[in-house]
């Protein structure tokens, strides 16, 4: 173990480790090799990470902790503000207000999309859920270091709790969203119930992604610096502001963008909440080259985009949504679990 860059523990006694210990009765170590002694008495290495199943069991035992931690964090987030918990509702409202001001009142652009305001706000809210889950979990380990160093518990509880906080915020945002959507003239239909499975799948995806981000953010400081830029790029390629299918790029790129997880969850929410979206999605009507070409050139009538051919099969969106959720959860969990013993190191 020699290394010229390595310092030994500090101490003023540079002359050596010689102390007056003669004549002291010291405890002798047992004759058996220590590792063998440990094995004989059933002792386990302290820094050992528990196997997956036991880890999951511990995590399940801590479910009340996860919820209590999420609630406590949520409360703490607003204790400095005078309006307190009101901000939970105010934040999505103000968000929507900004978009209404810019896209509803100032810029009358619709990019060939019917009910553009509702389209936009749905996209922003849904994307925001995933974005916030990513950004907040990237710092969860460093923020909770004192807790990690004080008490032993499965560390996955922390990113899980942070995603629960964002879920709680998202639930409130969805209520605000519902009101906005109705105000823009969308009818309330049975399709709205599809929001529940869509939200569930998005949450599972966020948990998986959050676990991975938590580990990345725990030791690579550069990661949390880079994250905002990655998120912004992701926002622009996920069709929050425009319809991906109308992009003027190669169809295989369009298909790739359309099946990216953020775009999938946004599309599911839009189709559930907005009748105008269900009816104007390319492929919603039998293909009609003439009507599609006219829509491409004039963007009028707005819902004639439905006569264009879809790039990916919209019927498969739910499969993609499930696949992304499961993939993220499995990969994220195992990735986080591998470093379980190292989070306390800081």
């Amino acid at each position: 173990m020699s290394n010229d860059r390595r310092l030994s523990a500090p101490g003023q006694l540079q002359a050596g480790d010689e102390f007056a210990t003669t004549g002291l009765v010291t405890t002798e170590l047992p004759d058996t090799p220590l590792a063998q002694l440990a094995a004989e008495h059933g002792l386990r290495p302290s820094a050992e990470r528990p196997p997956v199943l036991r880890y999951l069991k511990h995590l399940w035992q801590r479910r009340h902790f996860i919820m209590a931690f999420a609630t406590a964090r949520n409360i703490a987030m607003y204790t400095e503000a005078r309006l307190g918990q009101v901000w939970q509702v105010l934040t999505p409202l103000l968000n929507a207000g900004v978009y209404f001001l810019i896209f509803g009142l100032l810029l009358h652009i619709n990019r060939g999309i019917p009910n553009y305001l509702a389209f936009l706000v749905t996209g922003v809210f849904v994307f925001n859920f995933t974005q916030r889950a990513f950004i907040s979990t990237s710092t969860v380990v460093t923020e909770s270091l004192p807790l990690i160093r004080a008490l032993r518990f499965p560390r996955a509880a922390l990113p899980l709790a942070y995603v629960m906080i964002e879920l709680q915020q998202m639930a409130l945002s969805i209520i605000v969203l519902g009101v906005i959507v109705v105000c823009t003239g969308e009818p309330i239909t049975w399709y709205w119930l599809l929001v529940i499975p869509a939200l569930l799948l998005q949450t599972i995806f966020n948990v998986g992604a959050g676990l991975a981000t938590a580990r990345l953010g725990s030791n690579v400081n550069d990661f949390s610096q880079l994250l905002p830029f990655l998120m912004r790029t992701w926002l622009y390629v996920s069709g929050v502001l425009f319809q991906i299918s109308t992009l003027d790029i190669a169809r295989r790129w369009v298909a790739l963008l359309q099946i990216n997880p953020a775009a999938i969850y946004i599309t599911l929410f839009r189709e559930a909440l907005l009748k105008s979206q269900r009816q104007s999605q390319p492929g919603a009507m039998p293909y009609n080259a003439l009507k599609c070409a006219q829509w491409h050139h004039t963007k009028k009538p707005l819902d004639w985009s439905a006569y264009c051919a879809p790039v990916t099969n919209p019927a498969h969106y739910w499969y993609y949504a499930i696949a992304w959720a499961v993939l993220a959860l499995v990969v994220g969990f195992f990735f986080f679990h591998r470093a379980e013993a190292k989070y306390g190191r800081g």
Partner: protein
């Protein structure tokens, strides 16, 4: 110790190395940084601190082990390693059951109230909701923070904070309790209480490790002592008083006057601070 006793903690040639990022070998000025970048030094300077250098010991059920040594001798690192918070570089630490670390710096969540910290701490340690509810009054009572319990912990004095943390961590019977100077900030009354609590935890068939610069505390609480210097064990044994006296002598302190029969300190003196 009789060989028939049950070992609870075994350290087998343990080495712990910290990695410190961004520790340049030169002066940390902008000019040297620029030179470093211009010189295309590819690797960011990572330095290593070899904090524990080959430590071996066995602690048994019912032991209270005092760890003494000057600042930077690796006492806190040793406790963190026992708690499983630092992965060993070489060798290993084995424990029977879970180890809970209780340190002065182990603030829980500063911006939350004491109340919530108690609840969260209990739940994090794996207690059920009902258990948490049962234990809550006794924890608050033990901590003695009184009306401060519904204030955020950042409003606490350091003494109050560490009392509350001790009360939380001590509320569950731990297999292994690691106390890192947590008693240093408490007042006289709290020291008496925590002393009693440590004895109680020892009786629950656990093992207690105590790091303290207050040597009297170690004398009163521990039946064994490990003296560490520069990441190595100088000596360890059950002759607590003799080892402490040698330690004081090595640190250049005045010898403690003791009753020749009982070994008790004859008069109260200012505890040696190292």
């Amino acid at each position: 110790m009789a060989a028939a006793e049950k070992p609870m903690v075994i350290a087998d040639d343990l080495h712990i190395v910290y990695r410190v990022f961004g520790a340049g070998g030169d002066k940390g000025t902008a000019a040297t940084a620029l030179l470093r970048i211009m010189g295309r030094k590819t690797r960011a300077s990572i330095r290593e601190v070899h904090a524990i250098r080959g430590v071996s010991f066995v602690a048994y059920r019912g032991d209270a082990v005092g760890v003494i040594g000057r600042n930077g001798s690796g006492k806190t690192t040793l406790l963190r390693a026992i708690a499983g918070l630092l992965p060993p570089e070489q060798g290993n630490v084995y424990t029977d059951g879970e180890a809970a670390l209780l340190g002065v710096n182990a603030a829980l969540l500063d911006d939350l109230t004491g109340e919530r910290n108690v609840v969260l701490g209990c739940l994090a340690m794996g207690m059920s909701k009902a258990e948490t509810r049962d234990k809550f009054p006794s924890i608050v009572d033990f901590s003695g923070v009184g009306d401060f319990i519904d204030l955020p912990m950042k409003a606490y004095s350091s003494g109050m904070g560490s009392r509350l943390r001790f009360a939380i961590a001590g509320s569950k019977s731990q297999d292994i309790l690691l106390v890192d100077e947590a008693l240093a900030t408490g007042d006289a009354e709290f020291r008496v209480k925590s002393h009693a609590r440590i004895q109680e935890l020892r009786k629950d068939a656990g093992t207690v490790f105590l790091v303290a610069h207050n040597l009297e505390e170690v004398e009163q609480t521990c039946n064994r002592v490990i003296w560490m210097e520069r990441g190595k064990i100088v000596t360890q044994g059950e002759d607590v008083i003799e080892i402490i006296d040698r330690y004081i002598a090595a640190s250049g302190g005045a010898p403690v006057e003791r009753d020749p029969v009982t070994g008790k300190r004859i008069h109260a003196r200012v505890p040696l601070k190292t």
